[in-house]
Amino acid sequence: MRVLKITAEGLITSFRYPHFMQEVQPTFEMPPPATIYGHICSVLGKWFDPDGVQFALHFTYQAKFEDIEHTHVLTPAAGKLPGTNLPKVNEGKVAPFRRGLLFKPKMMLYVNKPEWAEAFRHPRYPVALGRSQDLFTYTDVEIVELERADHAYFEHTLAPYSFARRTASGFVVLMPRFLDYSRNRFPTFGRYVVIHRRVHSHDFLRFAGEDPLSFWVDPTSEEVKGDKLGLAFHSWVGEDESIVRMA
């Protein structure tokens, strides 16, 4: 499989849990799929049809910490702006919110769209990941021919929920999978496993009667104990093992 491999680095980033809004906003330790979709859209300069597009991640950061972020908490308002005849639309106040942040994030993004290489070399909008002020730099954009292998290792990645039963490593999170802009940004969610530490497929739990496993690996990755970096691909739409019953 030919894929686009993008290496992106930044100073700070943050991926807010969507339903923790008030005053304290912890961060996911990996970018959610919906964030990756938005990120690619900003590169292309348009919404793209997610059907058939897949991506995989390798994401690291040096430290996780909290900072105070001033949020302008807004509510609709009536009347005029002071000293003018201009209608007031919103009003608000500045409030301190505790925000979880990741320091020195680095992402290797694999997308099964090698034809987008030029777009990543000349992104349409400023390259950001997480908050709009969390600017990133693409340090490498290349096309890689992935290989199929019987063994692989997985590390610093977001894996589909089914991996939880095999890896017995990492923790499970519910993340926004996709925001449907044609339906008022209606969200769908999925369950994923955050895997930070390296786990080799030969240590995976096996179940009786199942077929031998095989994986997509990046042949350009570091070889560890005879294994290459395995890639767990995700989709934004359609049937997926990460899907839960949430809307």
Binding site: F20, M21, Q22, P76, A164, T167, P187, V244
Partner: protein, 488 residues
């Protein structure tokens, strides 16, 4: 009737409803089951002690609104609206609720009926924004549309949480059995406490006696023990605790992830083969409290410890594995800790009997995913060095191995001792391959370094020397307080 959604707060609420109905599977719940818990909440949420308890979950809701203190009928109206929206005959909107995909409730969820139908805010769902706030919503359309079922689950959530340090502790897992058992445990405790408080005329529910992280792990271990006794199958799962307050006095949220590898370690270590060592490690982890005399003439009372450092440090794994090994398996005391922290009194000299290779071996396999071959090499080296120290009575080598602060000094000590052995016609203490495997190969852990490998070998050495009686005979070779080695 209900299905788990994956959302932690909604799922804990669903598990609470299921526990209230004594049904493990929420899909087996009937409308009558939902009615039963709704009736309980209608009766109890509008009066103390739950009314005051709910301020940390639903500030300024109809249950807790101080302005309704003299208008109990308004509390009844509010309760009817938020607790009755799941009923089949209740109005529904033609839009899906955010958590379940079922139609959102079709009525305003306030007493005056001024809110947009089906829309929920901070008084309905902890930690989302208040009425009218347009931040964080698509196109500034404030509030979340929620189905009556999800709303009922969210209202039931506090009953399935522990009250800890002024906040609520909700525990969620991708294994529904674990979510259910935590909700069951906390619900049963709360139901008893509510009844006792009402009988005694108390306005508040008592706080959990232990700090949150300790309470979380303590409860987990209790539930895991019951699970093992019931011979239920263990499946890999991670557990996440949410310790939160939605109070108007200050919102707060701490999230504790317990990864699958740590849960697996706890499950195995609390099982029969390891239980004795585990219990002794736990025993030495409790806060040290001093007896206090409250009034003149009264006999002194020793307060119950509030926390267990061993439990709390389990929550910092696997990132903190190196620290964990030194502190709990090598009994290295910690400086600059608060008064009462038992880690300040840990002592290799006094507690050499607590140094256990089998527990460490389990930890290395389960938590650190260390290669079995490397573990075996470490064990072999520990055995060889212990035999060498015992036979040659080489106190100097043992002391150097224990306290060395620089890699090159460790290497030199090993080479010297090995060369001395060879001179006597004996095989070297360590081979080149052994050295490389133990001290040079990493495990892809930032905390994996030579001193970690040294500590692991040392743990095996100490265990063996203790068993051989050498340590007892040479107790002075162990410093009273082993300090952290100098940084390179």
């Amino acid at each position: 009737m209900l299905e788990y959604t994956g959302h932690p707060l909604v799922d804990v609420g669903i598990a609470t409803i299921a526990a209230f109905a004594h049904k493990r599977d929420p899909t087996q719940l009937t409308e009558a089951d939902l009615d039963a818990i709704a009736v309980y909440m209608r009766e109890n949420y509008v009066v103390d002690p739950l009314k005051s308890f709910l301020t940390v979950a639903f500030p300024n809701s109809g249950f807790t609104q101080p302005a309704y203190n003299k208008a109990p009928e308004k509390r009844e109206i509010y309760a009817e609206r938020v607790l009755g929206a799941y009923r089949p005959d209740a109005p529904k909107l033609n839009i899906p609720g955010i958590f379940t995909g079922k139609p959102a409730a079709g009525i305003p969820l306030d007493v005056k009926g001024k809110l947009p139908p089906g829309r929920t805010y901070r008084q309905h769902i902890p930690l989302i924004t208040g009425e009218g706030v347009i931040n964080f919503f698509p196109y500034g359309d404030a509030g979340l549309p929620v189905s009556g079922e999800a709303l009922l689950a969210l209202q039931a959530l506090p009953l399935g949480c522990a009250k800890s340090q002024g906040r609520l502790l909700a525990v969620h897992s991708d294994d529904p059995e674990i979510t259910y058992r935590f909700a069951w445990e906390f619900l049963q405790h709360n139901l008893r406490a509510i009844q006792l408080a009402r009988d005694a005329g108390e306005k508040k529910l008592p706080e959990a006696p232990h700090r949150t992280a300790t309470l979380f792990i303590e409860t987990l271990i209790k539930l895991e023990r019951e699970r093992a006794q019931a011979a239920r199958e263990d499946t890999p799962a991670s557990v996440t605790a949410y310790h939160f307050s939605n109070s108007g006095q200050g919102v707060d949220l701490d999230i504790y992830h317990l990864p699958m590898e740590t849960l697996d370690f706890i499950r195995t270590a609390t099982a029969t083969n390891y239980r004795e060592t585990w219990n002794r490690l736990v025993h030495r982890g409790w806060e040290i409290t001093q007896a206090r005399r409250r009034r003149k003439g009264e006999s002194p009372v020793t307060p119950e410890p509030r926390y267990n450092v061993f439990y709390e440090d389990l929550l910092r794994l696997p990132e903190n594995a190196r620290f964990f090994i030194r502190t709990y398996f090598l009994r290295i005391p910690q400086r600059n800790v608060r008064k009462g922290d038992p880690r300040s009194g840990y002592s290799l000299r006094e507690e050499a009997d607590l140094v256990s290779w089998s527990m460490l071996d389990l930890f290395l396999r389960k938590v650190m995913h260390m290669d079995r071959e490397r573990i075996e090499r470490i064990r072999e080296l520990g055995d060889t060095l212990a035999e060498y120290v015992d036979q040659e009575n080489d106190r100097r080598f043992f002391r150097a191995f224990l306290t060395v602060g620089r890699y090159e000094y460790l290497r030199t000590a090993l080479i010297k001792a090995s060369a001395a052995q060879v001179k006597q016609g004996k095989p070297p203490l360590i081979t080149f391959d052994q050295f490389i495997t133990i001290f040079e190969e990493g495990e892809d852990l930032p905390y994996s370094d030579w001193s970690l490998a040294r500590d692991l070998v040392l743990i095996r050495m100490i265990e063996q020397l203790y068993n051989r009686g050498w340590l007892k005979a040479h107790a002075d070779v162990l410093p009273e307080e082993t300090s952290e080695p100098e940084a390179e």
